[in-house]
């Protein structure tokens, strides 16, 4: 033992010749320091990529939340407790409408980001506004649906099936509403601050969020509405 508190290193260095290969400690050739993409050799990724990736991970976890509500719906589909059944509460035309609206909004959202990349504030705002309006229409349609159901006495309190139906669809609606709030905030930020890096990063995230909601909606209209109606 030495006084220096490095017993192992000192001993190891003495015997370095015992292991000329330095098994497990071979250097992979001298690499110059490069900042870059975080793939191991190059150091941390740029902020833009970190932000996008972090948000991607968040989205995956959000999808897991949805998957629980999907599972609950699958399990409680038949639990009508003597109340209305799925095919009695579904109106396919409205859902078709909602789907169309949301799909187009995804498209405009993507155009808005193309505009951002082309550094056009005007078109970014225009397409964001279009996205927002379409999202709003979607929400209004959903509210209309819920209101009509409620008027017929069909509420989540009625049965397990309705609970899981309203829960799943409502959760998506809640996400869209939150997205609208976010979108409004972003538009204000662009207006005031222009395209700073952090604002562009947030726009990337918003883009991701909006498309992910569309993906969830595909699941909902297929499993809840189309398959429920049949």
């Amino acid at each position: 033992m030495t006084e220096t508190g490095l017993p192992a290193s000192v001993e190891a260095i003495r015997r370095v010749r015992e292991d000329p290969h330095r098994l497990g400690h071979r250097a992979h050739g001298p690499a110059e320091i490069i900042a870059g993409a975080g793939h191991g050799m190059t150091g941390p990724a740029s902020k833009r990529i970190i932000v996008g990736y972090g948000f991607w991970i968040y989205l995956l976890s959000d999808i897991v939340v949805f998957s629980c509500f999907f599972a609950a719906f699958a399990v409680q589909r038949g639990a009508t407790a003597g109340g209305p059944t799925m095919d009695q509460i579904i109106e396919v035309p409205r859902v078709a409408m909602q789907t169309a609206v949301l799909l187009v909004s995804s498209y405009t959202c993507m155009l808005s980001f193309a505009a951002t990349n082309a550094r056009s504030r005007l078109w970014t705002q225009v397409f964001l506004a279009a996205t927002g309006i379409l999202g709003l229409v979607f929400i209004l349609l959903e509210l209309q649906e819920f209101a009509e159901l409620a008027a017929r006495g069909i509420t989540p309190q009625r049965s397990g099936m309705l609970t899981s139906f309203f829960g799943l669809v409502g959760l998506h609606g809640l996400h869209v509403s939150a997205g609208l709030l976010w979108l409004g905030t972003m538009m204000a930020q662009i207006l005031v601050k222009g395209f700073r890096p952090e604002i562009v990063h947030r726009l990337i995230c918003f883009n991701l969020f909006w498309h992910a909601l569309d993906i969830v909606w595909i699941g909902i209209f297929t499993i809840v509405y189309l398959m429920g109606a049949g």
Partner: protein, 670 residues
């Protein structure tokens, strides 16, 4: 105006919670007064509360965890003594009170004790081990921590105002539905756990992104220290299953608040679905705790054996194996619910397969010591205690994973003994081992080893004396969560268990004494080199404590065990690497958004618990406003001038050079 809240919410007739809260409040007030008198507020505010430095946040996480462990331990003492005196008698705790205690104990220990500690270690270590300056999202990191603190605060408020849940740490419906639990206890549980769960999710996302996207140059995946690997695996599990917790609690909340029927026992609700979903989170949750613990032990075994970890790749493979397989075993917590033989077989086998991954780790640790120079410093003692304790706990886990055996041990004290065996022997021992190990890194001086050894032996012996009787009682057919006992024959074992708790108390005291003594003698125990244990990974390349920017220049990693390589080269050539060119560093500015959000989260939770709707809305709006203000700020980063970087780095180099000189003076070198 105040919803369900009025003065009668305070349990004036129950002395225990009343006195406890009075003491806690007095102590807290005392601390606040002290801070004010000493004028420490600015320091606290700028350097801790609003800090976004991952090391500070890590330390605060650990502090929170330790406080909550103590609270949970107090609950444990009450439970053990109650059961010892309540044999054919009522004991000193009524059912209402006792049932709150075990619920609070389980919830607090797992979600507010062990979790913050584990997250704290990850926060503190991952960027250091990766050779970078911070986590991916420093400000969100602060939000995550403070949300967890907010949940912990809510739980502790329930001690004085209202009550806590009386359902067990996983509130199975229908018992937890409004019909059977009309009080606010379950609501406290729901909001506290929900809020802190979101905080945990944020931290999980943060660390996954950090590990995947922010490694220093040359730090390829297979060069990452094993602790970082386990942190990654653990955080992947967080990202995968905490949303399940969020969803499940949200469903129960909807049942309770607006009369929906996810889990009610009427109108098509399905309580079994809750059990299913909560364990889909609950099981991976325990692996979220144990994986980083494995990481801690890996670092310790290799450092104190003076050898690289044996079978590094196997270790990484086993970690990822456990991570994935742990996602498909959750049914083993309800084998006895009646899903039938096919389902039980599948989940039984997949559960026991986890033992393969764990076994590989155990053997790799043993072979790490093989051919080593094993130094029995305190962290190493904990690690040896862990090997023994955890293997036994794992064995009983595998027993429980055999459905026909679980049919007679489910919910028995055998189960209680199993999970304390793996949690205390695994997670808690790891935390103490890791605390001894990295304390000098965090604070600049070592902990006094003598008291550390006392603490270890008390914990180790105390653990076995406390929990061996529970194994036996479980085999005798004693079930868990009993407020009093109707079988006098069980008495002797319960007394033995109390003796064990007494030994544990001595251990806790020893730990406190160790801290006090070490702080007193900190100059003697000072770690001047930054590498007190002859370490191997990059955190030991920094001074103790590290500067807030961690590394003056990002290390350029050229092999496994990055720091070990650097160190050996320095010793071999008897000089440090040539001095780099110093450049200014951009660091994130501190931000109050974390505490701010958490404050309103607490208010929101409290308002929801007591049905004070207006206040809940106010809190939500305020939180959103806070975020907008935060999003509007212009300055995100500040620049550390090159001179400051150079100054810090030169001091570090000087201490390392002194060390090299000393080595050659001693003639230790070949």
């Amino acid at each position: 105006m105040f919803g369900k809240l009025d003065l009668s919410a305070v349990p004036l007739s129950e002395p225990i919670p009343l006195i406890t809260s009075a003491v806690v409040i007095l102590v807290a007030l005392g601390v606040l007064v002290l801070i004010t008198v000493r004028g420490w507020w600015p320091y606290l505010w700028h350097d801790w509360i609003t800090s976004v430095d991952h090391k500070r946040i890590g330390i605060m996480y650990c502090l929170l965890g330790v406080l909550m462990l103590i609270r949970g331990f107090a609950d444990a003492i009450m439970m053990r003594t109650q059961q010892a005196v309540a044999i054919n008698a009522e004991g000193y705790l009524t059912p209402e009170h006792y049932n709150q205690i075990f619920t609070a104990h389980g919830t607090i220990m797992i979600l507010f004790g062990a979790m913050p500690l584990v997250l704290g270690f990850m926060n503190f270590l991952v960027p250091l081990q990766l050779g970078v300056r911070d986590v991916a999202f420093p400000t969100f990191n602060s939000v995550g921590f403070w949300l967890t603190a907010s949940g912990a605060l809510l739980i502790n408020i329930s001690l004085l105002i209202g009550e806590f849940a009386r359902t067990g740490w996983l509130p199975y419906p229908p018992l937890s539905e409004t019909a059977y639990s009309p009080g606010v206890g379950v609501d406290y549980y729901l909001w506290a756990v929900q809020i802190s769960g979101i905080g945990t999710l944020i931290t999980g996302i943060n660390i996954v992104t950090t590990v995947l996207k922010m490694r220093c140059p040359g730090m390829s995946y297979l060069r990452m220290p094993v602790f970082t690997w386990t942190a990654l695996a653990s955080c992947l599990l967080i990202v995968a299953v905490f949303p399940v917790l969020t969803a499940t609690l949200a469903m129960l909340t909807l049942d309770r608040y607006v009369g929906w029927h996810y889990f009610t026992n009427t109108a098509g609700g399905n309580p079994m679905m809750f059990v299913n979903l909560i364990w889909a989170w609950g099981h991976p949750e325990v692996y979220i705790l144990i994986l980083p613990a494995f990481g801690i032990f890996s670092e310790i075994f290799s450092t104190f054996s003076g050898k690289p970890l044996f079978g590094y790749r196997s270790m990484v493979a086993a970690t990822l194996f456990i991570c994935v397989v742990s996602l498909l075993v959750w049914l083993h917590h309800f084998f006895t619910m009646g899903a039938g033989a096919a389902v039980n077989t599948f989940f039984g086998i997949s559960s026991s397969i986890i033992a393969v991954g764990t076994g590989v780790k155990i053997y790799n640790w043993i072979f790490t010591m093989y051919g080593g120079r094993v130094r029995f410093e305190v962290p190493m003692l904990w690690s040896m205690g862990f090997i023994f304790t955890f293997i036994i706990g794992g064995l009983t886990g595998v027993l429980l994973a055999i459905p026909p055996a679980d049919f007679v041990t489910h919910n028995s004290l055998f189960l209680v003994a199993h999970f304390h065996n793996v949690i205390i022997g695994g997670v808690v021992f790891a935390i103490f081992a890791g605390a001894e190990f990295w304390f000098p890194k965090a604070f600049g001086f070592r902990l006094y080893a003598g008291w550390g050894k006392v603490a270890f032996w008390c914990a180790f012996i105390g653990f076995w004396v406390t929990f061996t009787p529970l194994y036996i009682l479980g085999l005798e057919g004693m079930t868990r969560r009993l407020q009093h006992i109707n079988v006098p024959e069980w008495g002797p074992w319960l007394y033995v268990s109390v003796v064990g708790v007494a030994i544990l108390i001595v251990g806790v005291v020893a730990q406190v004494v160790q801290l006090v003594v070490s702080i007193r003698d900190r100059e003697l125990l000072r770690d001047v080199t930054g590498d007190p244990w002859d370490g191997r990974s990059l955190e030991w390349a920094t001074p103790s404590p590290p500067p807030f920017f961690n590394f003056a220049v990002m290390p350029n990693v050229e092999g496994e065990e990055a720091y070990w390589g650097i160190k050996l080269r320095a010793i071999e050539t008897q000089q440090l690497a040539p001095e780099p060119k110093y450049a200014p560093i951009e660091m994130p500015v501190h931000s109050p958004v974390g505490v701010y959000t958490a404050f309103f989260a607490t208010v929101f939770g409290f308002a929801m618990i007591w049905h004070i709707w207006w206040l809940a809305i106010v809190a939500l709006v305020a939180a959103f406003a806070g975020f907008v203000v935060f999003a509007w700020r212009d300055v995100h980063e500040f620049e550390v001038p090159a001179e400051e970087v150079a100054r810090a780095e030169r001091a570090r180099r000087a201490s390392r050079e002194a060390l090299l000189r000393k080595l050659s003076e001693e003639g230790a070198l070949p």
